[in-house]
Amino acid sequence: MASTDTGVTGPTRAAIEARTLRTDRWWVSPLLTFVVFSAFVVYATIRAFMGRDYYASPYLSPFYSPCLGDCVEGASDFGQPFRAFPLSAALLILIFPLGFRMTCYYYRKAYYRAFWLSPPACAVAEPHQAYSGETRLPLILQNVHRYFWYAAVLVGLVLTFDTVLAFRNAEHEWGHMGLGTLLMLVNITFIWLYTLSCHSCRHTVGGRLRHFSKHPVRYRLWTWVSRLNVNHGRYAWYSLFSVALVDLYVWLLATGTITDVRFF
């Protein structure tokens, strides 16, 4: 089906009716992205609105950290300044990691392709008649990505603190470790790899310079972040799975469905 008269089937272009002549399975990648992202959104929404089963001592779900609302005992390591907030405490803080991922250059590519089909794949005509990109509201707001990155660094620090606290047992005695601790360690590793490989991070530490030669330290930082940045999309996926997995593990522990595997 032709997409639009101003596109590949327009009057000046080579007269070919097919919206693409690609013979490979170009639809697999956007379909997979659509399914996985949708599943994550559904899962995260349910968990965020539940408002319970997010703490199984010593583990706090990353969806609820820091727990600043009316949280269960032991979950609020940074106090409860929003104790009066009537809804789930996750809703207070999830906007920051969510905003970071929604405005992320990798995720933008992924969801523009998978959800908005703009384009669904390279050299496959998109179904839209008009296109203005990120020049108008609301998509012009993608330019705030660096602010969400600043917030994501803070969230990363908090999750690192949570991971340290996970080296305790259920009675909060130090020097213990369980499967939950291991999952949180894996998660925080991917979270930091994702956060530090961000394009805005790369720009902030040195990319914005015009003279690398005048800023040797920032140039060195830029080269390190550049190395990570190559795999930004991979870290985006890994950390998406790891954060959901830690939450699921805590959920299952909190509901008594499973018991924690203790290493020592």
Partner: protein, 259 residues
């Protein structure tokens, strides 16, 4: 050397219309799509129009679409396909067709004219200009561009929306904007122009330009996104604005004028 009969299809026509026609042709091991096209031209269709030159992936002339994917025909190995696979070659579908596989790529030259040239400062007292090696190296990736315009062809902003062409320079020229904006000796501040006249905001960074670049230039990650971040510095970042007001700021743009 083993050979086989390639099931080749080629789009034939001009601006008034055309169709994809079958040209079964003998090919040999180690050949590329352009070799098959030349054999068709030499044996079956002497009037087949095709643009080519170096046959080495360095001149950027033989850009086309092979099974719907923007490719240089001279770098597209037949061994990448099954021997019984049908290979369909069409002209680039973003530009006005002239005849057969030849398109009118003058859109790109018009966009090149809109981009202010490199503007170095006055020479040093000894008559030279200087820049450090690491600053030279940063732009080398961008200098690999062979202007095949496959990135321009695959970019959906103009491929699917002809009406965007006046307002959008395209990835090849964002590459050039980025190179010059990062250049320590350029005296222009190109961020306003990149966002305004060149239409950087139209790009939704879906990375197809990077996927098709035969030189492997990371157009999106190393040019377009850094350029978007530079525009954010100038237009959307209140911290940078505040820093400028109180004197805590990046002085890299001192002495530069809007282009």
């Amino acid at each position: 050397m083993s050979g086989y009969l390639l099931k080749l299809r080629i789009w034939r026509g001009d601006k008034d219309g055309g169709e994809i026609k079958d040209y079964p042709v003998e090919v040999s091991e180690g050949e590329v799509v352009l070799d098959a096209i030349h054999r068709v031209q030499g044996t079956q269709a002497g009037d087949l129009a095709v643009r080519w030159n170096c046959k080495a992936g360095k001149c950027g002339s033989c850009s086309a679409e092979v099974n719907g994917r923007p490719r240089l025909m001279c770098m597209c190995r037949l061994s990448d396909f099954e021997e019984d696979e049908v290979i369909t070659v069409t002209p680039m579908r973003s530009f006005p067709v002239i005849r057969d596989l030849v398109t009118d790529v003058s859109f790109n030259y018009e966009k090149a004219k809109e981009l202010p040239a490199f503007a170095p400062p006055e020479r040093d007292a000894d008559g030279k200009r200087r820049m450090a090696q690491i600053d030279v190296e940063r732009g080398q990736e961008f200098r690999k561009c062979i202007e095949c315009f496959l990135c321009q062809n695959t970019c959906h902003v103009v491929r699917d929306h002809e009406d965007n062409k006046p307002a959008f320079a395209g990835p090849r020229f964002f590459l050039r904007y980025a190179e010059l904006d990062m250049h320590p000796l350029d005296t222009h501040d190109r961020r306003e122009l990149a966002q305004g006249a060149a239409g950087l905001g139209m790009c939704n960074i879906t990375k197809c330009c990077t996927e098709v670049c035969p030189e492997g230039i990371k157009i999106t990650d190393n040019a377009i996104i850094p350029l978007k971040e530079r525009v954010v510095d100038r237009k959307y970042d209140p911290l940078v604005w505040l820093g400028n007001k109180i004197g805590l700021r990046n002085k890299d743009y001192d002495g530069r004028t809007d282009s």
